[in-house]
């Protein structure tokens, strides 16, 4: 056997593998079998009698590799004498174990040290937080740190809240729905309904392919936690809202590779929604603009270039003044010149009045030409709280004409109405705004058979805006008291002179250009209060650089419905100076806007200030509420008179064609003060399932032209449904009083103007949004958290 090639039989266990020390002579090939003690001492040195005899055997077989040695063999004793005492060496495995232990102790020490130092737990954070949450672990803030989101991490917070509750504690403002936490924030009932609808149908036939409560792998899906999708600790630049497509397809039945391959074709995208402005693009483009030789430029109405951005600010609709006024302002101005006769004294038969002694001797001479005139809807409302008047109104024909009452009943009805009107004017003159509002609300209650809602009360206040108490004082004194005294007023006297003549009861503050004295202080305050409200409403919903945007605004700009610049409600604080038209020729429209008296017609008129007049809007909305409730067949009171009143109001309403021709007044009444007059549809500001950001597309030369995607459909196109103006037609008919009883008032809600544009196809989008091209992730176009109320499927 080669002495240099001693080999250990690996199949046999080592003699003593657990020994920590080996003989120091082992490197010479002469290690003793017993080896050093457990404490690393040579047994020979420890033995008092010298070298151990047991060492002799292996040493005798050992090869002497000692430098310069000539001996063929050596014993332990010989080596001891020649080389000195044995210095035991650590065994390799023991050295390794010691080293591993040292590293482990060092690691443990470091970990304990980390936990001991303040905020040391942040070293254990598995990745930094997203920038939106970075402040939670900011060393400068003395907060709960990790326990802010991990309630179990510190004993003080154990069991306090679930992590989702902690998420919603801060983000609850954005997720306020009752089904928050459910998939897409949709109720399970709705999800199950969608699922049942999808069963048995090929995916291509369905608008949505979803399996409620189950994942694709067939497992029951509970309400997912926030962290299921919003993965934190992925670095400060990580987007918490960016989800993988696989996450989306976990629940959706139709699985596809990418947006390019397999995505369902668009169906009627963008979806036709109820528009509040009945604007027919194709008709404008092909007829109106073409007739005037004006180019139909999309940017003219939808892009405002007064902002510092690449493409300007994109709106769904610009304001009336910027987008419509150039053509429509003159038509509106012409329509409102004559004003609105809000209430008028009916003409009575003088003989009837004189033959029956009554308090109506003071009825104005200008209104004693027989039974003429009608009772306007507003006057009906004001009189409705008077039982006698209510009974008389009930006997009026559908158009409210006094002349239409059967001859036998006519004197009695006329007398009752006249007394009620005089009493009304006197009451408002004496008690001001409280009487006006009380009358309006009582009339409203009588007409609808229910309490006045908060919004209706607000509309009544708006209707009263700018109405001066002086006008009623003037009515009372000059129409009734002066008539009783047979004093005829000089028609050429000015209102100021009249005020001097009848100084009692007329506030001096009505002189000059001072602020209009309203019916009462509370009303005035209300008007002022609403001005700020309107100002806020009119603020263009566009991006303000560096400002935190509201959720709705973000949606508008980053893929939601287009922004809205709708300054419909320009405040029109008009002076009440000279609000009496003594000439009967109408007030100079350039000076007089608002409430005024017509001395010739003996009427209280209203001259709208132009487009976006709040009084007219309030009245139209009030009458529309009544129309909607009538259409919905809301059970009214059992009182037959109340029903008749409503019939009269609906049949005689004078809805201005100019207003409702464009404003369809659709949407929820509770959305906002003037929400139904805004061009933006009711779904704007809500998170819909699909969203689109126009801005990046408008920066590209190829897609800068809106017509690249929005292909205008010809107005003569056979397949294009015509705009539904049936509501307007029905209203116009009712205004004419053709057949009041057969008219069933329509609700404006849900009237949808036909689509002006062709549907956008998937192929248009995948031109750019494809693998290797622009981003094509699901979340680029789809929201997960949606407003279920905006769903159309």
């Amino acid at each position: 056997m080669n002495p240099h090639t001693q080999q250990q039989d690996v199949r046999q266990p080592r003699p003593n593998p657990s020994k920590a020390w080996v003989c120091g002579y082992a490197c010479l090939g002469a290690g003793c079998q017993t080896g050093p003690s457990g404490r690393g001492r040579c047994g020979m040195l420890e033995a008092s009698a010298g070298p151990q005899t047991g060492c002799e055997v292996p040493l005798a077989e050992a090869v002497d590799d000692r430098p310069g040695s000539t001996a063929a063999a050596a014993t332990c004793e010989e080596l001891f004498r020649e080389l000195g005492p044995c210095v035991p060496l650590r065994d390799n495995w023991y050295a390794r174990r010691i080293r591993a232990l040292q590293i482990a102790v060092l690691t443990a020490g470091l970990l304990l040290g980390i936990l001991a130092i303040p905020r040391g737990e942040q070293i254990l954070v598995p990745g930094s937080l997203a920038s939106q949450h970075a402040q939670i672990l900011s060393p400068g803030l003395d907060g709960p740190g990790c326990a802010e989101c991990h309630p179990q991490s510190h004993s003080a917070f154990v069991g306090a809240r679930t992590q989702d509750e902690l998420c919603l504690h801060c983000h609850g403002d954005h997720l306020t729905g009752p089904n928050t936490g459910n998939p897409h924030d949709i109720s399970w009932e709705r999800l199950n309904q969608i699922t049942r609808r999808s069963i048995g149908h090929p995916p291509s036939d369905l608008p949505v392919n979803f399996i409620a409560g189950e994942t694709r792998s067939g497992e029951r899906l509970e309400s997912p936690q926030c962290a299921t999708c919003h993965q934190e600790h992925q670095g400060s630049l990580h987007s918490l809202t960016r989800l993988s497509d696989q996450r989306c397809q976990a629940c959706h039945r139709q699985k596809f590779t990418s947006f390019l391959q397999g995505h369902p074709q668009f169906k009627n995208y963008p979806e036709s929604k109820p528009h509040r402005i009945a604007f027919d693009h194709s008709r404008h483009a092909e007829q109106h603009f073409a007739k005037q030789g004006v180019r139909f430029d999309c940017a003219g109405c939808h892009v405002r270039d007064d902002r510092q951005s690449a493409v300007g600010s994109v709106f769904r609709t610009l304001s009336f003044e910027k987008a419509c006024a150039s053509c429509h302002a003159s038509a509106i101005g012409a329509a409102i010149t004559e004003g609105w006769i809000a209430m008028q004294l009916p003409s009575l038969d003088l003989e009837d009045l004189t033959s029956k002694p009554s308090a109506l001797a003071e009825w104005p001479n200008n209104a004693r030409f027989g039974y003429q005139g009608n009772i306007s809807p507003l006057l009906m409302l004001l009189l409705a709280s008077d039982p006698q008047a209510l009974q008389a109104i009930g006997e009026l024909p559908g158009n409210g004409e006094l002349g239409g009452v059967i001859a036998e009943r006519r004197p009695q009805i006329a007398r009752g109405l006249a007394l009620a009107i005089r009493s009304l004017i006197t009451e408002i003159d004496l008690h001001g705004s409280s009487a006006w509002k009380r009358r309006m609300r009582l009339g409203w209650q009588t007409a609808l058979g229910r309490e006045v809602s908060e919004r209706e009360s607000w509309l009544i206040d708006e209707l009263s805006h700018g109405l001066s108490k002086d006008l009623f004082s003037y009515m009372r004194r000059l129409w009734f008291l002066d008539a009783a005294n047979s004093q005829r007023r000089d028609p050429q006297k000015t209102f100021a002179e009249l005020q001097v003549d009848s100084s009692d009861g007329i506030s001096p503050s009505t002189h000059g250009n001072q602020d209009a004295p309203l019916l009462g202080d509370d009303l005035a305050e209300g008007a002022i209060r609403d001005s700020s409200e309107l100002s806020a409403l009119l603020a263009p919903q566009v991006e303000a650089p560096g400002m935190a945007l509201e959720a709705a605004e973000v949606e508008l700009l980053l893929g939601g419905p287009l922004a809205e610049e709708d300054d419909l409600w320009l405040e029109s604080e008009k002076s009440t100076e000279d609000r009496v038209d003594v000439t009967g020729r109408g007030l100079d429209e350039s000076r007089y806007r608002g409430w005024y008296l017509d001395e010739q017609l003996l009427s209280l008129n209203y001259a709208p200030s132009g487009h976006a007049d709040r009084v007219m809007a309030a009245w139209i909305e009030l009458t529309q509420i009544m129309s909607e409730e009538a259409a919905a067949d809301v059970p009214a009171v059992d009182d037959g008179n109340a029903l008749d009143l409503r019939r009269h109001l609906l049949s005689q309403q004078k809805i201005f064609t100019q207003c409702v021709e464009c404003h369809q007044l659709v949407g929820k009444r509770t959305a906002g003060p003037w929400s139904r007059w805004q061009a933006v549809n009711e779904a704007a500001g809500t998170r819909r399932f699909t969203h689109f950001d126009h801005r990046p597309h408008l920066t590209l030369a190829a897609t800068r032209d809106c017509k690249f995607c929005h292909v205008l459909q010809s107005s003569s196109h056979e397949g294009k449904p015509e705009p539904d103006f049936s509501l307007l037609v029905s209203r116009t008919k009712s205004e004419a009083g053709d057949d009041a009883t057969s008219h069933v008032p329509h609700s404006g809600l849900g009237k949808v103007a036909g689509p002006d544009f062709g549907a956008i196809s998937l192929q248009q989008c995948v031109t750019c949004h494809r693998p290797g091209g622009s981003e094509d992730a699901c979340t680029l176009c789809h929201y997960y958290h949606i407003d279920a109320s905006a769903l159309s499927w």
């Binding site: 001693q6 482990a104 598995p126």
Partner: protein, 271 residues
């Protein structure tokens, strides 16, 4: 069951296990489940299985199969653990502690792979040399060889053929015999220096007489033996260092895994 069959069987089982784990991971992900928990527990169990080899080595009294079988199980289980480890960690790894933990696991895994590879290649490389040397004895043998070479060089100088051989020894061979090889040689041992020295020694023949040639041949033999010793030492040292690295971090890894699991459940979301 022979070794080859056992190897194929173990490889197949490992691949099937990885495939099953991948499938379950995909299923968990599609179910919007917690994939990290699934892979984490799989990794923890497989890692614990890797520690069993150390116990088996330590508890020699337990006769539960040969260590070689345990070693084979360790290798394939380690391969599986590496695959699960890649499934478990996100990329890039974030967090200081998580990064150290992942790095430790990666170092242990890579050193284990290196050991598995070198433990199969090194014997083949060593077999190319006729003699085998135990690592502990190599320094002694090298010292003895150096002493013998020095003796031959002195004898050659006394033979009278001049200082050719002894000068050459002093200039070129003395550093070779008495100095350890470089770290680069330890990492990647080769025979370039050996061939160069032997070629230079052959070139000295024209200046030597017959006695000198004998001494030159004796020195050449010693050069070969020294290089063989160096080669053995490099290969065995490399294996031992790798093994030391593999073992030294295991306890620290166990400690960090324990802390990691505690942190995960301490900071887990409350449902």
């Amino acid at each position: 069951m022979n070794f080859r069959y056992r190897r194929w069987l173990a490889t197949g089982v490992t691949l099937v296990a990885v495939a099953i784990t991948l499938s379950m991971l995909k299923r968990t992900d599609e179910s919007l489940g917690d994939a990290s928990t699934f892979t984490g527990w799989t990794l923890l169990v497989s890692t614990c299985g890797l520690y069993l080899l150390g116990l088996r080595k330590r508890w020699i009294t337990l006769r539960c199969g040969p260590v070689a079988a345990w070693m084979q199980m360790h290798v394939y289980l380690g391969t599986f653990a590496c695959a699960v480890f890649l499934m478990h960690i996100g990329w890039p790894v974030r967090g200081l502690f998580e990064g150290i933990l992942a790095a430790t696991f990666a170092v242990i895994s890579l050193s284990g792979m290196g050991l598995a590879l070198l433990s199969r290649l090194t014997p083949r490389w060593l077999a190319a040399i006729s003699q085998d040397y135990r690592l502990e004895r190599i320094p002694t043998l090298q010292a003895k060889l150096a002493a013998n070479a020095h003796r031959v060089a002195i004898e050659s100088a006394q033979l009278g053929e001049g200082a050719t051989l002894s000068e050459y020894y002093q200039r070129r061979l003395l550093p070779f015999f008495q100095s350890p090889r470089s770290l680069l040689y330890l990492l990647s041992p080769g025979g370039r220096r050996r061939r160069q020295l032997l070629r230079e020694l052959d070139d000295l023949d024209r200046y030597l007489d017959s006695g000198g040639v004998e001494n030159r041949e004796e020195l050449a033999a010693m050069v070969r033996e020294k290089d063989n010793l160096d080669y053995h030492r490099a290969l065995q040292t490399r294996l031992r260092w790798l093994f030391s690295l593999h073992v030294a971090l295991t306890w620290a890894l166990a400690l960090m895994i324990t802390v990691h699991v505690i942190l995960v459940y301490k900071f887990q979301a409350v449902l």
